[in-house]
């Protein structure tokens, strides 16, 4: 069983429009891997397809993780396998508090087939302690846990909550979809520190970003570039700096030359 996330010849459509046109990519377990690319290149679609968003249709291809083709799994089963998607646009769920949501998610992860969920559920005191510690590390106010999930949250609060969830669920592979969007520098630093605490060597990270900025805080081992629904280049961290400096056009020209 491998902790690498292996994407093979992945084609995916949304409303019959092909967005991913044969993605081949391996994220090695425990490494930080950035995908950069211009807007509309399919980066966020890739993140959604990895997590199992029902709005995307996978036409062909495979995604292997821990010995399973995860395309055959429901989103919740993927999560329980150790995958995590930090959403670009976290969804509000009115009436469901942050604390209740986190507890339900933790208990789902702890549940075991054939066992009474009450037996495997996290003891309340332990949950409260974990939650408190997680929130402190992310400089979140205590009252936060009682608020309804993402309802009326600022951009920064939403992203912190994504990292808090990641902290508590302890995934082995996390996909960060444009986590830097809408964050000021302080929030960006807090979020990045949160990721770094969990990452390498325990957790692989796929960082999806348009800008180099985030990569100053979360240092990748590998950088891949996505254009028009394909990975067009794999390289080391130096590529991110080059893209920051020169933009994407030179690469496009090189590829078509």
């Amino acid at each position: 069983m491998s902790n690498d996330l292996v994407i093979k010849a992945l084609h995916a459509n949304i409303e019959e429009k092909e967005i991913l046109r044969g993605v081949n990519l391996t994220i090695r377990g425990g490494t930080i891997h950035a995908i950069m690319g211009p807007n509309g290149s399919g980066k966020s679609t890739l993140a959604s397809v990895i997590a199992g968003h029902p709005g995307y249709e996978v036409a062909s291809g495979e995604i292997w993780y821990k010995g399973q083709n995860i395309l055959e799994l429901d989103p919740d089963e993927r999560s329980k396998l150790g995958l995590f998607l930090a959403f670009q646009y976290p969804v509000a769920v009115p009436g469901v508090s942050v604390a209740n949501f986190l507890r339900a998610a933790l208990n789902a992860h702890r549940s075991e087939e054939g066992k009474d969920p009450k037996e495997t559920a996290i003891p309340m005191a332990q949950f409260r302690k974990q939650l408190r510690e997680g929130m402190q590390a992310l400089e979140m106010d205590e009252g936060f846990a009682r608020r309804y999930l993402n309802e009326g949250f600022s951009g920064g609060e939403k992203k912190r909550l994504e990292i808090l969830q990641m902290t508590m669920l302890r995934p082995t592979m996390a996909v960060m979809d444009e986590t830097d969007s809408g964050l000021d520098i302080d929030a960006l630093r807090i979020v990045a520190e949160g990721v770094n605490r969990l990452a390498h060597p325990d957790m692989g990270v796929l960082v999806i970003t348009h800008y180099q900025r985030l990569l100053n805080y979360i240092k990748p081992h590998f950088v891949s570039v996505m254009m028009d629904g394909r990975i067009v280049r794999d390289a080391g961290p130096e590529l991110a700096l080059e893209l920051e400096e020169k933009g994407y056009d030179w690469l496009r020209e090189e590829l078509t030359a």
Partner: protein
């Protein structure tokens, strides 16, 4: 006493029975008058409530009402009264005569007349001036084992600057034959009083619930009303809060869940009479299977009112494509002096993005749906001060998802 069906009853029999039961003259006369009205009135013209599955005239009202009343001893010491209405006729006759039938109009239609003519018993709740009744008072109505018709009534009198929490529940096992429950609830909130009223309808299958509920708020009175409708085959609730006094306020939350083979109608009205009165209504409806719910809410701003602030919202969640919800919010304004007024209604399926977001955290689709529904109902559920009741209601809701 033999049980007679409505077909067999007459004004004389009803009057005679009331006299034998020791009821005061004024009540005997009111029953006779209501019965005369019932006997001559045609069936009510309700466009959406389908009563074809029941023939009330073939049913026999049972000889008594099954009611349990829970009052904490500490409240009793403060002078709070909560006892069967029939027993209160002896101890508090003058109060009952003054208030009974003055909120819910007895002669409005055939069923209101039936309720006024034949009510068997109920609950009498009285909180004296300046007394704060902190512990919730509970009134539970059950279905009689035979007869299958119950006509209970709740009468609440909160004197000036008093406060109370009342939980009124209707519950029974599923019924093998159609049964009728026709309750009345009347609430009188005195000047500066604070009333929390939770009314939960969770009859078993087969029950037809045709209820009249009304609260009248005096000056600066405050009402928090929660209406929960989960059970019965057919529910037809005509409810109203009259903001009679200046500066009176109501916050009214509703949670209705119509599953397969249920038709649950709620018609909550906000009637503004006083000046600077404020009202907020938010009803949530979930429909599943081939269930059908109707929200027939209304804001009525009377001529004599002034500087009204009001808002009415209804939100519906569809769990199945066969389920139906009709939302008919209305606004009638007979004055030029309105400070704020508005209504909104929304309707939709369970949000796919919400489901996906929760599933992406490991929560199963079933559990995610359950959490979304509970979250949807949270304004009503959060207002229930008794944890065990809340859990029971949540379990009922869960079984219907």
């Amino acid at each position: 006493m033999t049980l007679l069906t409505l077909k067999e009853l007459t004004a004389d029999i009803i009057g005679e029975r009331a006299k034998v039961a020791g009821e005061p003259h004024w009540l005997v006369e009111r029953r006779r008058e209501a019965w005369a009205h019932f006997a001559q009135a045609g069936p009510p013209e309700w466009r959406r409530t389908d009563l074809s599955g029941i023939d009330p005239t073939a049913l026999a009202p049972s000889s008594d009402t099954l009611v349990t009343i829970e009052l904490d001893a500490s409240l009793e010491r403060l002078g709070v009264v909560a006892k069967p209405l029939r027993a209160a006729l002896t101890s508090h006759e003058a109060l009952i005569q003054r208030y009974l039938d003055t909120a819910v109009a007895p002669l409005e239609h055939k069923f209101s007349a039936l309720r006024a003519a034949l009510w068997q018993d109920g609950a009498f709740i009285f909180v004296p001036k300046d007394v704060a009744a902190e512990m919730p008072i509970r009134v539970r109505y059950h279905l009689p084992p035979i007869g299958h018709t119950t006509l209970p009534r709740t009468l609440v009198i909160a004197e000036a600057h008093s406060s109370l929490t009342l939980i009124e529940e209707f519950s029974s096992p599923d019924q093998s034959v159609p049964s009728l429950a026709a309750p009345i609830s009347e609430i009188f909130a005195g000047p500066g009083s604070s009333v929390r009223f939770i009314s939960a309808q969770r009859w078993g299958n087969g029950v037809y619930h045709i209820a009249g509920q009304k609260a009248v708020l005096e000056q600066d009175a405050n009402l928090e009303w929660t209406s929960i409708g989960l059970g019965a085959k057919v529910q037809h609730i005509e409810a109203e809060t009259t903001l009679k006094g200046n500066g009176s306020q109501v916050n009214w939350y509703g949670a209705t869940f119509a599953g397969s083979d249920q038709l649950l109608l709620t018609g909550p009205w906000l009637r503004h009479v006083g000046h600077r009165a404020e009202s907020f209504m938010q009803f949530k409806t979930v429909v599943n299977g081939n269930g059908y719910s109707v929200f027939d809410g209304m804001i009525k701003i009377e001529h004599e009112s002034a500087a009204t602030s009001t808002r009415l919202e209804e939100h519906a969640l569809h769990l199945s494509p066969q389920a139906r919800n009709d939302s008919i919010p209305g606004l009638k304004i007979d004055t030029n002096s309105v400070l704020k007024g508005g209504h909104a209604s929304t309707s939709g399926d369970v949000d796919e993005e919400q489901l996906f977001y929760m599933q992406a955290r490991g929560i199963s689709k079933t559990e995610a749906k359950r959490m979304i529904v509970m979250g949807f109902f949270s304004p009503a559920l959060d207002s229930i001060p008794v944890e065990s009741l809340r859990e029971e209601l949540e379990a009922t809701i869960e079984s219907k998802i």
